[in-house]
């Protein structure tokens, strides 16, 4: 019996050219509260009851409870802070003011519950983080405490959040 093996075509490396792929991963921090992008969500409270009749739950122009999403690539281990500046009170345009300390929130996920202090550097959330990837996920449902009398009107104000890391 004759066995014929198919001839394998020999292959030969004839040229080799080295090159490098360089991956540059820079440290970064990303914070998203409410609707992604440049939209500023508005939380409104319809206060119908007298002070002392209980807190009033807010409504949002975006998702509610308001999503809080943080993402980062940290260059070093350290403390991550979510800071709120609620130092400018709500105003009605007629000279009347309501301090932000009249507003509280119920937190979920990584965000603890709390109440605005009216400080420009109020720490809302603090946690220690390792070097490398860091993620925050939570939500906030807001309430008007309704514990004091204020003149009737439409009051508006803005809170600015800052995420900081080493």
């Amino acid at each position: 019996m004759l066995i014929v093996w198919p001839a394998l075509a020999p292959a030969q490396d004839v040229a080799i050219r080295p090159f490098n792929v360089v991956v540059k991963v820079h440290p970064y921090l990303y914070l998203e509260i409410g609707t992604p992008g440049a939209i500023v969500d508005q939380i409104s409270f319809r206060v119908a009851g007298l002070p002392g009749t209980g807190p009033v739950r807010g409504e949002s122009t975006g998702k509610y409870p308001v999503p809080v999403v943080g993402d980062g690539m940290l260059a070093a281990a350290g403390t991550v802070n979510l800071i709120a500046d609620g130092s400018q009170p709500l105003t009605d345009g007629m000279g009347h003011q309501i301090p932000f300390s009249q507003i509280s929130w119920q937190g979920s996920g990584d965000v603890p519950s709390g109440q605005y202090s009216g400080s420009p550097q109020q720490i809302i959330l603090q946690r220690s983080a390792h070097k490398g990837r860091m993620k925050l996920n939570g939500a906030m449902a807001f309430f008007y405490n309704n514990t004091q009398f204020f003149p009737a009107g439409i009051y508006s104000g803005r809170v600015i959040y800052t995420l900081s890391a080493p």
Partner: protein, 155 residues
Amino acid sequence: MRTSRRRRLGLLLLPFLVLALGFSKESALQLSVDTIEVNLQPEVASRVGAPWMASSNYVSVRIDTRSLRGRAWRLWIAPRGLSGGNPTVPPQVIRWEVRTPFVNGTLLPQQRVLAGQGAVDGQVVQDNFIFFARGEATGAGIFTLPLEFILEVVQ
């Protein structure tokens, strides 16, 4: 007598000298890679959960099949030295896009991956390899993956 022996020795060496020069010329023309480093940077500000790598500059590859001796050619990309690369950025997160006769692919650790093939038909084939990376970075920093193009000829 001595001059005659030198002349005969010279005549004997001449074909080998021409052959050596010929090989040297072929080697320089077969595979040309114009870039030795391609940089990938993440699109960090795009949005949460987005892939962390963006596209990059490219590597231009040119193969002149006129100087190849064989039936077909194949081009491979492999981690240089088959070392497996940096563990923070594994090779398999890197992929490339290119046009025929080159083929798209994804790097694999410790093995070569086909990047193109064709007939040795006297044509010059050329294209730009555009590299991408997709995956979760585990840390900030600059990571270098040493790679190499390998041109193979099938007899």
